[in-house]
């Protein structure tokens, strides 16, 4: 059963090579993505964290395909959005966020399977990690952040921060299964949204697609920078802004998955995010 009242984060302490899963009931009002990422950044600010987070729709609806990353670039908080299958695997690890705290002593590759974490040496054979078909591989061996050998980030902040923490790669395997509470309504809504392909701001292409997106547009190769807070709290694709800035569609999606957010919750989201970023900056 999927948690809809709390947010779960996998907290990884690189210095002590330990990890734990923590539940946060106070994070629910932040919805997901940038909101949850920023609040977790604030909570763990002393540990110089990098926060990967997903939103409530990731893994369940088309074009809700990105992963939010919050990182500090010399004191300036940046939010980036990465494509590929990373969001799907984080979601099906049973968590909403991964928080990388402190700094490893040795170069390290992090292998996450659901919520269990192991730390491997830098020269680990990447293909030996995780479960093929259920994993998302982040390769840093070329000093560039590459997901699934293709998707990268728009700027080099993330690479810089990961290398400072001596992280040379990550593998996230997620094998959990969740069934939406009202499956037939979910299925209907899924099809309706999938049929809104014409409302996307991209044409279909022949490039690798992000998870839950059939477009193969090629535009997500380099990820995204900050934009609309609702889109980036759901961690939907920026090019699906017409679909996921329609409050009616958003509520339908949240509702069918069992979330009970109100209009007030969504309306207060921009202020909540602005206030949080002001505090952490």
């Amino acid at each position: 059963m999927m948690e809809t009242k709390i947010k779960k984060a996998l907290i990884i302490d690189l210095a002590s090579q330990t990890s734990e899963v923590k539940s946060f009931s106070d994070l629910n009002s932040y919805v997901g993505g940038i909101g949850v990422g920023l609040k977790l950044y604030e909570n763990y600010k002393e540990c110089d964290p990098i926060v990967f987070s997903v939103g409530p729709l990731n893994g369940f609806f088309p074009f809700a395909s990105k992963t939010s990353v919050i990182v500090s670039d010399d004191g300036v908080i940046e939010d980036l959005y990465v494509g590929g299958n990373l969001s799907l695997r984080i979601k099906f690890s049973g968590i909403d966020a991964i928080v990388l705290c402190n700094k490893s002593e040795e170069n390290v590759v992090i292998d996450i399977t659901n919520t269990s974490v192991s730390f491997k040496p830098e020269d680990t054979d990447f293909n030996s990690l995780g479960l093929p078909g259920k994993r998302s591989l982040i390769d840093m061996s070329g000093k560039e952040f590459i997901v699934q050998g293709y998707f990268s980030t728009p700027e080099n902040f993330l690479e810089k921060c990961l290398l400072e923490k001596k992280i040379y790669g990550m593998c996230i395997t997620g094998t959990e299964n969740y069934k939406p509470i009202n499956f037939s309504s979910y299925e209907k809504l899924y099809s309706e949204i999938l049929n809104k392909k014409s409302e996307l701001r991209v044409e279909a292409g022949i490039y690798p697609s992000c998870s839950n997106c059939p477009m193969g547009c090629g535009k997500s190769k380099v990820g995204e920078i900050g934009g609309n807070v609702l889109i980036h709290s759901l961690v939907a694709c920026h090019f699906a802004d017409k679909i996921y800035s329609d409050i009616g569609v958003v509520f339908s999606c949240l509702n069918v998955l069992g979330y009970d957010y109100t209009h007030e919750d969504l309306e207060s989201l921009p202020k909540l995010i602005e206030d949080t970023i002001r505090r952490v900056s």
Partner: protein, 219 residues
């Protein structure tokens, strides 16, 4: 209306911007998470605006981009450079007096990079050539553009008629903005025109109070 685009043109110094940001950040805006407030400063100020955009709650756009992709083009700013700073770029503003071909090339460069072009047009005859999947269109209504500081007001019924004609010509679902002397006085009547998805605000966006009034009236 969902889109509120501030086109600062070549009006703001660094000092002006700092003061604008300070004032705007203290103003109470009606909350609407689906709204897009996009600030388009001059190139030298893009970095600063991007850095504070999250804190103040807006997105960033450029006012133009180079016709060329990369290379020896002194003074130009290319699509690949803008991609790191902006999600939107104004293309073909009437003040730039660019040919249709130039606008089409720039629009295509934006689309290629994943920047959403805000394509300005005055006449409606080339609309089908500009209407591209992923783009935002903005009608710079020739009968309602301020010239030499003189504001020319147009009857909202005529604007509604013009917008309806445009919506009938472009693909279904295309985002179309209105850009003609937007101010706190006329925004209420413009907001009643359902074909208008947002506004491109010039002069009135230079004053943070005025721009906030426009946003608050339209939501």
């Amino acid at each position: 209306m969902k889109y509120f685009i501030a086109n600062w043109k070549m009006n703001m110094s660094l000092e002006d911007i700092v003061s604008w940001l300070e004032k705007f950040s203290k103003l109470e805006l009606k909350q609407d998470p689906s709204r897009h407030i996009i600030i388009c400063p001059s190139f030298p100020h893009l970095s600063l605006i991007k850095e504070v955009s999250r804190k103040i709650g807006f997105e960033v756009g450029a006012q133009d981009l180079s016709l060329f992709e990369r290379g020896a083009h002194t003074g130009e700013t290319g699509n690949f450079q803008l991609k790191e700073l902006v999600n939107y770029c104004i293309v073909g503003h009437s003040e730039r007096k660019e040919s249709l071909n130039t606008v089409i090339i720039k629009k295509d460069l934006c689309i290629k990079t994943g920047i959403i072009p805000i394509i300005c047009f005055v006449g409606k005859k080339n609309l089908t050539k500009l209407d591209t999947k992923g783009a935002i269109l903005c009608w710079e209504d020739p009968n309602n553009i301020s010239k030499g500081g003189v504001y020319r007001e147009k009857n909202p019924l005529e604007i509604a008629k013009g917008m309806k004609e445009i919506k009938e010509k472009v693909s279904k679902g295309t985002t179309v903005l209105y850009g003609g002397s937007i101010n706190r006085e006329n925004i209420k009547s413009l907001n009643e025109i359902k074909e208008i998805d947002g506004v491109l605000v010039g002069n009135s966006s230079l004053d943070p109070n005025h721009f906030a009034d426009i946003i608050n009236t339209a939501i």
